[in-house]
Amino acid sequence: MTAQLFGAALGVITLVLMYLLIRRGWLKEKYTLVWLFAGLVTLVVAVYPPIINGIARALGIHQGMNLLFVFADVAMMLVCLQLSVEASTLTYRTRALAEDVAILRLEVENQRRQIESMKGATPPAEPASGALAPGARREGEEL
């Protein structure tokens, strides 16, 4: 009976934790599916333990316990696999961002230098002249 309570508590804790994490936006929904499933299984098994032996027998496994271990193993593996896939995607995206940031930085630097050299090229003798300024600005915008 105590073990049953303990198991039920574990299942409930997992489910509540998931609920809180999702509601606060700390966890994207797609990561929670496996955990939700694990929590539900724990809960069901705790509430009605004979179900394990029933399923185990149906699958040809002698010990109900072993079925639980297999379940846990598979769940862990799926989570790890999902994380590996996510890590690959993130690595890939970070790399693409880094490459494009580097190129853009060079382009921005070049354009700033061009604009500055153009500013420097306008004769300082006519500081308030309205005739030159619009032209200079228009060229700057094109860049």
């Binding site: 890939y92 790399r95 880094a98 190129i103 930085r105 060079l106």
Partner: protein, 245 residues
Amino acid sequence: MALDDDRLLVIIPCYNESETIGAVLHEVRACLPNADVLVVDDGSTDHTRPVAIAAGARVVTLPFNLGVGGALRTGFRYAIRHGYRVALQIDGDGQHDPATAHTLLAELSGADLVIGARFADEEDDYEVGLVRRLVMRALARSVSRHSDTTLTDVTSGFRAFGPRALSLFAAHYPAEYLGDTVEALLIATRHGLKVRQVGVAMRPRQGGAASQTSARSAIHVLRLVPAFLVPARLKHELPAVEESP
């Protein structure tokens, strides 16, 4: 040669090459006076960037170290954005002699990707350790089997790229060390690009330290195994790069 009229971009991936990059840039300028030179600084922690700028190169600086493949793809994307149709990859450590670049570029008239290769003939006296030599030969054999030509040096970083190779690699270029050179060839042949090699003599690196130890190289070679076994679809489609106005 049809490619004579195309603008050439020389891409030099660099990681902490401040000792040698100045001399390399000087040499490139002397041998290829009409080419534009792009140094891709792969997150160097030394003075590679200022030295290269002082030597008159355009320098693209990656925010952190991506590995040669990342540096190269940056170069390819830059090339496409700025309308270059031909690119030459050359190392920043001085082991490639830019004077031999012309033979690579000439070969591009009948190929999409040309490798400047060591071991192309028997007299080549480029020094590498026995293990390394065996591994390199095995890799070369494996890649050659996928290709329509015999390649002797698939890890060479001295390469010329034609327009088709540029646009393919601007979107898909593997990042891993060694992976980048070998896997890129597999990608190229799977996409029907014509790969050729010309024999070139290489010099020992002129200064600085190699970025990889042999133990790490071994790991990288192992990582290549899936690349040969699984003819993977190209993962992660990148939007095609367009020429910037």
